[in-house]
Amino acid sequence: MKRTTMFGSRAKAVVATMAALGLAAGCANPQGLGSGGSESSSEMPARTELVIPYSEGGGTDTWARFLAPYLEKHVEGNPAFTPKNVPGGESITGSNQFVQSGGTDGSQVLVTSGTTYFQALLGRSEVQFDFTRLRPLILNGTGGVIYASPSTGIRSAGDLADLKKPLTYGGISATGLDLTMLQAFDVLGTKLDATFGFEGRGPARLAFERGEVNVDYQTTSAYLTQVKPLVDDGKAVPLMSFGMLKDGEIVRDPNVPDLPTVEEVYRQLHGKAPSGEAYEAYRAFLVPGYVYQKGLWANEGTPDPIVQSYRDAADKISKDPKFASSSEEVLGGYPLYSGEEAEEELQEAFRIKPEVREYTLDMLKKSYDVTLEGN
């Protein structure tokens, strides 16, 4: 081929900058099928691609792009980070592609979110990635707040015990992040009349404001910006939060310290700490879904020095003054965890017991008439 002569000198620059990328992309099969990856070297590559299995401009994409310059500064060897979006298939497409051809030399790392985790936890047949084997590098959580309409007569979470009618809830899809909400109500033993099919949490919140539904949940940052004004106007009543994880225990979310956790509400309603299948299922999805919702992962077999430099970076980034001042809005005030801290809990969560998965699928079928294909 006369390719190089045709493109002239510009090609050389392209070749130079893409040489590392070429290794990254491994073999050149369509969609990166087949065996990929080059020889593992424990040296940090000059360029690293952030494989984002979500579309441009979304929450996970914004998170990754916001983090990129700090990674560049604090990850040892200062690789240049370039985001690469591979959206589709509820993030299965991009994640599958990553485990197939992402290599183990650190030239690609995977960006994940709760939706990615839930596909694996629910045992979707298309999933080819295994989070018990992938290596968590840096993780970042989020929280969620459940609130209700004053028209329900509810003044606080304690009133959930004597409801006349089931609360109506608007969700996107029972197998997405809405699942945690459904599980929380399953734990509490409160009936929920759920309608799925909303385009996103935003339109569902509009339905709440219009009075079409009377209970809703939002991530903490959306709660603080969009729902808090409603609470101040007496148009919404906050009930509880999903809390956050501290030393293996769910504690109150520091962003909404006045709100009880789901666990506290259970104790208030039932007089004892939550336990049993329903609670186990809730916890199994809560930890990856919220506590460690956003994450950077490397393929199994990535050399320890590379993994370690990311994990070390988590701490350095948190201490970066510029990061501290600007991360509040994007990360919602939740800390960055290094993969080291989170690895054990995540592995436990992803070694989901078959009976817990079974219980969850059963709950979806019984209470919401939702059946997953292939299950």
């Binding site: 081929m1 493109f7 994409d61 310059p69 959206p87 029972a174 197998t175 309608t195 799925f196 997953l372």
Partner: protein, 672 residues
Amino acid sequence: MLDAALSALGALLDPTTLAFLVAGVLAGLVIGIIPGLGGTGAVAILLPFVFIIEPQQALALIIGAVAVVHTSDTISSVLIGIPGSASATVLMLDGHEMAKRGQGARALSIAFLASMAGGLLGAVGLTLSIPLARPLVLNFGSPELFMLTVLGISLAALLSRGNMLKGLIAGAFGLLLGEIGAAPAAADYRFTFGTLFLNEGLDLVAVALGIFGIAEVVSLVARKTSIASGSGIGSGWGTGLRDVLRHWTHVLRGAFVGIWAGVLPGVGATAGTWMAYGQARATARRKGKNKFGKGDPRGIIAPESANNSVEAGDLIPTLLFGIPGGAPAALLLGALLVFGIEPGPRIITDHLDIIYTIVWSFALASVIGAALCFLLSFPLAKLSFVRFPVLAGGLVVILFTSGFQESQQIAVLQVMLLLGAIGWAMKSTGFPRAPFLIGFVLSVPLERYYYLTANLYSFSEWALRPGVLVMAAVLVIPLVLAAVRWARARAARTGAEPVAGAAGDTPADEDDGEPEGTQAPPAWTLAVTGGFLVVFAGGFLLAQGYSEKARLVPTLVCLLGAALAALALAVQVYTRRRASSDEVRVTAWREELGWVTRAFAWLVAFIALVYVLGLVLAALVFVPVFLWRVAQMRPHAIATYTVVLLGVLLLLQRFADIALPVGYLTPAILVA
């Protein structure tokens, strides 16, 4: 309030900020011109910069691009009949018709002026509707959105006047194709045949480029001539200005429809633009100079004014509710978050300056964008006088590249090819494609809002809401009027002159007439209609395997489609008996068929090459050979053409994050 507005304008006129605005406009224009690359493409270009510059500048950059993407996407729709974006498909009706008559300059000048006016009105509308938007959006619940989608789908009937049966079949086919992928109200994936690729549903851009673009390429390559007849590129600019001034009410109405289509989450730019076209066409007087579908200036003004103001309206849910309506709005939301500005109810009190920066940027960008488009269109207008095969070589590569962007799955290329074949078959057997696109765009919203309405309200609750009643009236009154008119005409016509129009047509105005180009013989029409019948029957059978909430809508659509197709078959068989075969037409058709088959063979060869070599190398092989064999260009021209095309592709890959399909043997250096 005035203070905030003026200080925001002052800040915007700062040279650096202004430079970023112009940079955004340029990026938006370039991306808009390339067929199929729209807002998402512009976002990809801007993303790397947004997080590293100052907030005001980033806003100017994003808004600059967003405001003009739909100004320049008109150019390829009008001049070469290849949709510049999904919403610009509407310009292929009147805009492209006008260009085909050698009045490309007039069509473009109408389009740019209407765009600019739409953008300015959008900015004004944005300012005015900020205090009103919240209560209005909150009053517009699921039942109203459901009625709005029904109203939108009824456009399919409006756009198939003169060909009602075929139009409705096409609309039903669009609805069916839109149902591929995740069901909105259940956990089922429908019509995916077990592929992960189809779980996400078919991408609108790939569908529009296939059914309109590829189909157009195939049939134009066959004719080997240029698109426009006659000459006189430069003339008509003044006529265009006069057209816009004469029809200024359509500018206002288009902008109004556009703003609201943007404000309401879930409608979308494509549906909004078609609705603007629909209202202009529906309310146009029947008598006199109604040339809709044949190059009526109003058919350009209304949608052009709308598609720019849609983007302005789209900013309202983004800013006031934190709900982005599309990729550009999502980027804006992300950028605002990074700068510590939280969209939501408090933005009006806390960050009024930001809102005004956005409004001013939008207005300024609309003017700059339209002015630049005027300059650009003088050289570009010549495109419609170039022999088509010369354009086709590059267009094939660009169309498939653009269609690839959203899903980035190589299988989409085959889907586009298949849709191209369907589009061509529809075109040559008189099935209008506009109803198809409307059905496709509104399929999921229709189903979503139906279920939300049915689950959240009782029938008497939702059906009696004022908004629902108003829209029901808009839907029913024209039907009643039409029935009355038809009855009167029938009474008046006692064996006198027959009125044009075949069986099953509503009051015939001769809107569409026969599509241009060689028409297929009746046997083909019969075969295509039969094909639709088979598809609907198959869809019906497949749908029975889904869970209850995923089954209902596809079942209804398939039943309706199958019934319509069966009726159409019966009508065709009945009329065919009377029709005599025409020797000249048969020969012309055979010739056309031969050419089209060859054109498809070229496309298949290209796709095969892409699978093996990847897009860049495939283009390197395909383009020169095609230009040599089909376009019969000279060697040095072929070389320049190929180098420029590949250069553009690689530049886009490098700097605009445009993904190029990778094949089995693509060398690693070409993989980005």
